[in-house]
Every structure is written in structure tokens, then in C-alpha cells.
Symmetry: C2
Subunit: 311 residues, 2 copies
């Protein structure tokens, strides 16, 4: 199926005559006839009933027409998604099911008219480069990485402190606890295969380990969250950290426990980053939305690394 043929089909359906459609598309009537015939051959049905006064849609053509229009609409949006200038707002989120992603879903619910594209960048360094180049408009990150202050032209605002929870299977020693103090995790094996070395996530856990004497293993390949959950559920000696607002695809038949951590509660500090000179109109809307949504957070009894910009 060829998009040009679909475009021609829609034009012919609207015009009711191949000749008129041909004039609109700046091709000959014969070309329209051939394109439509090719589309009909591809689909295996007759789309028009030809008469001496034009071409009317057949029943199959009527059924196909709205799908054809939708196809052209989607194609237009796909092109617009990479068109420089007036493209959709492009936001980098740190994990597709994490809290930042949840914030963007809420933003989309509040402003469905704003076109969004969500991408993922490796670390804050790549994010800053992309923001400065204009390739992305905003980024959810923990700022700043240790010893690397943000450049002058990048602005940031803290939008969400996400408390970390312990995730264990039913056989784990702490599985029955309603909550667990951070100090009691010393000696337990905590497995974080998703944390890529060199990212600010890794820096965050490095600091957590150093300050509270935890044992975090980031070894082994990351087979995705499904495999992680499977392993944690089946291995009594293993637990993992998980953002308290992370959406999980809860594996059926597994008995996984989310246990709040206290004294202090480690929170992951999500900030929004953007370029001060970015003229995208939707960027202001996003910032206003997040400012309203993040009001009234309480940081008492929580922990963040020392290098994190204070609220």
C-alpha cells in the first residue's frame, strides 16, 4: 500500500471525479486512474464504481475512506514529529515507567491539545547537550551530578521527590515488615541491574551505599523489569529498590512486597531541565503545570545526596 495512492484515493473520493483529483494533485487523469487501480489491486477490492459522470465510492470504498484519512493524518503527524520548528514538545524522561513518565502522563491528560514526544537520553550529560542543541526541549533529571554544576544557559526546577521503596519476594527476611529503617538494610544484598554505570542514577546509589553502608550489586546484564521482578520474587536473598511512584506491570502469580524505607527515606530528586532561550510555547505550559502539581512537598525525614541542588 502506497501513501501516494491513498492520498489520490482520498482526493478522488472528495472530488467525485478522477479528472478533478488529477488537477488538484497536478498529475494527469491517467495517473490517477492507475494509482487507484494499483490500490484496488493491492487491497483486492473495488473502491469506486466508475460511471460516465465520475466515480462514486463503492461500499468497500466508503469503509476504507475514514481509515485512509486517518492514515494520512498519522503520516502528517509523524512528519511533524521531526520537522524543525513547530514540532511537538520533546521531553526526555529517565525511564519509561518511572515517576517522570507519570508526571508527563498527567500533563498530557491536563493538556491533550499539546503534542508530545517522549525520548530517553543516556545520562545528564547527554541531556544537557541535547537541550543546548535544541534537539530536546526539556529533561527530567537529578541535578546536578557531583562536581558538575549546570551550565549557565540551562535552567532547572525541582518537580518531584520520589521516595524509594524496597521490593522483595515473599521469602525475604524483611518481607513481613510494614516499613524498614534504612540502617537495617546494611548487610542485605540489594540488586540493581538496571542502573547503568556513569549515569546520575549510579552516582545516586554510590552515595547511598557510601553513607549507609549498603551492599548494592549492579552487576549482570539487564534483562528488563519483567526478568528483574521474576528473579526478586523467586530469590529470598535478593531485594531491589524501586521508585514509590513507578508503575509496574505486576507479574501474575508472584507475591511481591513494596516496603517503605524510613529514617531517613531516600528520595530521588526529579528536576526539570530546559534551555533558557528555548522559544517553544508548550514549554511554559509544562513548567506552569509542574509548578502547580509539585507545590507543598515536605522534605523532612528524607535523604538525598549532598551534591543535589537544595529545593
Amino acid at each position: 500500500m502506497d501513501l501516494d495512492a491513498v492520498r489520490t484515493f482520498v482526493a478522488a473520493a472528495d472530488a467525485g471525479r478522477f479528472q478533478e483529483a488529477a488537477a488538484e494533485l497536478a498529475i494527469t487523469q491517467q495517473a490517477v486512474s492507475k494509482r487507484v487501480a494499483a490500490l484496488e489491486r493491492d487491497l483486492g477490492v473495488r473502491l469506486f464504481t466508475r460511471t460516465a459522470r465520475g466515480a462514486r465510492l463503492s461500499i468497500d470504498g466508503q469503509a476504507f475512506l475514514p481509515h485512509a484519512r486517518e492514515l494520512l493524518r498519522v503520516a502528517e503527524r509523524a512528519e511533524a514529529s521531526v520537522r524543525p520548528g513547530r514540532r511537538p514538545l520533546r521531553v526526555d524522561v529517565i525511564a519509561s515507567r518511572g515517576a517522570a513518565s507519570g508526571l508527563m502522563r498527567a500533563f498530557h491528560r491536563a493538556h491533550p491539545e499539546i503534542e508530545l514526544d517522549v525520548v530517553w537520553l543516556f545520562d545528564i550529560e547527554k541531556a544537557v547537550t541535547a537541550i543546548r542543541s535544541g534537539a530536546v526541549d526539556a529533561s527530567f533529571r537529578a541535578v546536578a551530578a557531583p562536581g558538575r554544576p549546570l551550565p549557565e544557559d540551562i535552567a532547572s526546577v525541582r518537580v518531584l521527590d520520589e521516595p524509594l521503596q524496597l521490593l522483595t519476594g515473599p521469602g525475604h527476611a524483611l518481607a513481613g515488615a510494614r516499613s524498614v529503617p534504612l540502617a537495617r538494610l546494611a548487610g542485605h544484598r540489594i540488586w540493581m541491574p538496571g542502573v547503568v554505570p556513569g549515569t546520575e542514577w549510579a552516582a545516586y546509589y554510590d552515595d547511598l551505599v557510601a553513607e549507609f553502608g549498603l551492599t548494592i550489586e549492579a552487576t549482570g546484564p539487564n534483562f528488563g523489569s519483567d526478568a528483574l521482578l521474576d528473579t526478586v520474587a523467586d530469590t529470598p536473598a535478593l531485594a531491589t529498590f524501586m521508585g514509590g511512584r513507578t508503575r509496574l506491570v505486576w507479574p501474575a502469580g508472584h507475591d511481591l512486597r513494596r516496603i517503605p524505607v524510613t529514617d531517613p527515606t531516600p528520595v530521588y530528586p526529579h528536576s526539570l531541565l530546559w534551555h533558557r532561550d528555548n522559544p517553544h510555547p508548550a514549554l511554559d505550559v509544562l513548567r506552569a503545570h509542574l509548578a502547580a502539581a509539585s507545590a507543598g512537598h515536605d522534605s523532612a525525614g528524607t535523604w538525598t545526596p549532598g551534591w543535589v541542588t537544595p529545593r
Copy 2:
């Protein structure tokens, strides 16, 4: 933009390497390279960053990918809409904004998983032909037309009696009435440019005219409902009939009145028609839904033509 190129882009993005994508698509690596290059040239952006270990998505590529997937999904659905066997349920409704259309919208809300295609057929004769040939699965019609009983293999059930209302502008003699008896419409000009001669709609109004001595003008070309409403609003001598459950795009700035008609209330009898041997699984669901939704109608004080099958 070429759908084959988009398919190739998605395959390469999933595989991470052009060679693997080429194997999946049963073409050479060079062909994949050329297709992706052509797509990048069309879009004006680079979709992959080529490395010696494969090809990773660029930021633009990441933004484009979900749109590309959506495009292929829509293309698949478009093809399925005309695929013989297991295509979406295809229903003929009498007018895109009429009551039958409202019933189908309600059905879609109740069963969003059922794929639907809505078409429009000229009259009940065409509808019966289409149903018998299997080109459409069901049709909303007034059965039967005078003197033409339904064939044996077509089944029907009355699903909605839609009361007719009078639609007038503010200057009309009846504009202030809360309701109007049918007999009082004698002598008033009622304009129905949308009624096509030869359809069962026309037969309905012919009977209405004959029985109550109305003056219905079906002359003049039909410029669409917008033009109809404009004219009615501005012409004190004109009124028109309108289904009580018809959704209107109410013209801004016009003061149009919908006036119920009584003693008796003419109702338009919508029935669902289908082929007894039609095996489409969604057809049973639709019939069950309509049976449940149409329960408990009251036909006292209403009028339908004598040729209409009684409830």
C-alpha cells in the same frame, strides 16, 4: 514518505543493526541502508547514529519511532477494513448525524473492542442488496417500504422510534409554541431538501402529507444541514422536520427552536436489518446491545405509516 521505508526503519530500530533487519525483511543490508537513507532525506533529519557495532536511534529517531509504529498500525487497520473475512463489522446508517448514528456511537462506547465501519447506502433496496451480498453486515432502515416486503433471508427488528420535531426560526408563526398538534401544521410550508425521492424517507413523508394534509416541499438542491439551518433560521415562512435525537451542529448566533409535535407524534421507525446467515460474531453482540437498549418503548399517541411493520 514510503510505508516500506517506515517498516524498514522500525525493523532496524528494533534490531539495532541493519543486517538483522535486512534478514527479517528478506532483502539485502544495502537495501535497508538505502531505504533508511531515503527516509532520512525525505524527513530532513538523521534517524540513526551509525557505529561499527550497529545503528542506534538518534534523538529524532526516538521521537519518530512511536509515530512510525502508529502509522503501521493504522495502515494495517486500513487494510483490514476491506479484507474479506474477519473484517470489522460494517453497518449502514441512514444519516451521519441521525438517531441511528447515535445508537452506533453508544454501541461503540459499550464495546470499544469491536471494530466498526460505518457506511451510507442510498435506500432500503440498495441496503438489502448489500446485506444479501455480504458487503455490509447490518443496516438501520424503516421497514418495509410500501408494497415491498423484506426477502425471507433478511431479518429485522425495530430498535428505535424517533419522534419528529418541528424546527423553526424565531420569526415563524409557531416559534413560541411549547408544542404543536400535527393538525395545526396544515397550510404551513415545511421544507425538506434533504429527502431524496425514491428512498423510504420520501415514502414516509409522502404518507405523512397524505394523511394530515401537510405541505412539504422537497424541492431544491440539498446544500447540507448548515445551509438548511441557516435558511430556516432566517425565513419566517419556513420550517422543517428533524429527528428528535438528531445531533445538530448548532449554528452560532442563530435562534432556532425545536418544537415537539403531538396528537399524534410522528415517529420514524428505525429497524436493524441483517442477513440470517451472516456469521460475523460482532453482529450478535450488536443485536443483543440494541435489544437491551430499546426495551420499554411506548407507542401510544404516535404515528407511523401503515406499511411499517408493527412492533
